[in-house]
Symmetry: C2
Subunit: 210 residues, 2 copies
DNA sequence: AGATCAGGATACATTTCTGTATCGAAGTGA
DNA sequence: TCACTTCGATACAGAAATGTATCCTGATCT
């Protein structure tokens, strides 16, 4: 009995290492340009291990998308919960920027994350299953952000020019596009974060009614 | 003399057909998943013609990106100029939606266009040269839109909560993301256009100060 | 008309990738 | 300790893609 357990454990870590390596390779060169062998090299395995765990590169990609989506959504939920637990945030239209910096903190995306999520995005544009997963993920994230916005605004007697759900979507969208521009401009980790923060801050301020 | 002219003309149309076919194939399956042969089939040529015109698939891709970028920027400039030539647009915060529908008209992007521009985008994320081209294109488009916004707002004694350049960027960004969501949701041409229009309209209204 | 040449087609050599079938090592239970 | 199982490594065959070298056609000029 402990037999199968130990064995599945090994299998699990192998799968995981392959998935991690694949994420990196996919981010770097894209899913289509990545060969199975390249992924295996990066993971420190041979193709034997790969085909023992996945039927194809596509199957691995699907698994990876699920993993990433869950991680993202979970991460946002967590951070939002943490923010709310810190007690009511003090906000005025003046320091809205600071609040959004907190929201930004939700996902300190670096180059790697931006590349990976855009890789997922383009494949979701072509595959209905992936599209659904992508839309659900985005929707879940927006819902979390919207809740946070409601909370913050409510505790400060403020509101937005749009339903919080729309504001959330705009912010998430702007965050993504700012990240893309930042990566293209070759910004490093910290510059990237500040760049995104500034952008989101000014948008939030503009959408706030006080 | 008319020799070389006629010959270059044939060459030009061959190049063009290859570029058009490539655009379609790239949009459909992505640049990395597209084989040179597939592109040639789509264009009605063999690989001989291809390698007689391009050194590699990458070179063709670069040429295509330039073409698309120029077309986009030019298209936006044109439509904006046309809108401005129609005379001062009447705008109130009430019909801001309608004005933005005009702005939307700038580029009635269908599924094909969305796929292609996102394909270009992800490669630009990985290639510095492409990145520069991409950023310049976006910048040029935003500039046009910003001019239009200034014009419209000026003629109506209104302004925005943000510099028009920022508003333009937000709108272009939102437009892109709405298009992506629409394509993922499987919307057709007309639904897609309305979806994007609604989105941009409400954002514009929210950012308008009257 | 005949010569010439550009440009696309054909044929070929090479590389790369995939997927499967088989092997061997390491860990586990009796 | 010995048989057994699992799982990753190795070896192999086939397919697909690339790039080049050569051929062929049709248009142009004298």
């Amino acid at each position: 009995m402990s037999d199968t357990v130990a064995i599945s454990r090994r299998r699990e870590t192998t799968r995981r290492r392959l998935l991690d390596a694949a994420a990196e390779v996919f981010a770097e060169v894209g899913m289509d340009a990545a060969s199975v062998e390249t992924i295996c090299d990066a993971a420190g395995f041979t193709r034997g291990a790969f085909y023992s765990n996945f039927a194809s590169k596509e199957e691995l990609f699907f698994a990876l998308v699920r993993l990433v989506a869950d991680a993202r959504v979970g991460g946002v939920r967590e951070k939002v919960a943490a923010l709310e637990a810190e007690g009511p945030l003090e906000v005025t239209s003046r320091n809205a920027v600071e609040v959004v910096r907190h929201v930004l903190d939700i996902e300190p995306d670096d180059r790697f994350g931006v590349l990976l999520s855009n890789e997922i995005r383009i494949h979701a544009l072509r595959d209905p299953d992936l599209a659904q997963a992508y839309l659900e993920q985005e929707s879940a994230i927006c819902a979390s952000v919207a809740r946070l916005l409601d909370d913050v605004a409510g505790h400060n007697g403020m509101s937005f020019h749009l339903p919080s759900r729309d504001v959330a979507r705009i912010l998430v969208t702007a965050w993504d596009s700012a990240a893309v521009r930042g990566v293209m401009a070759g910004l490093g980790q910290s510059e990237l974060a500040r760049h995104i923060g500034d952008e989101l801050g000014s948008i939030t301020a503009a959408l706030l009614v006080d």
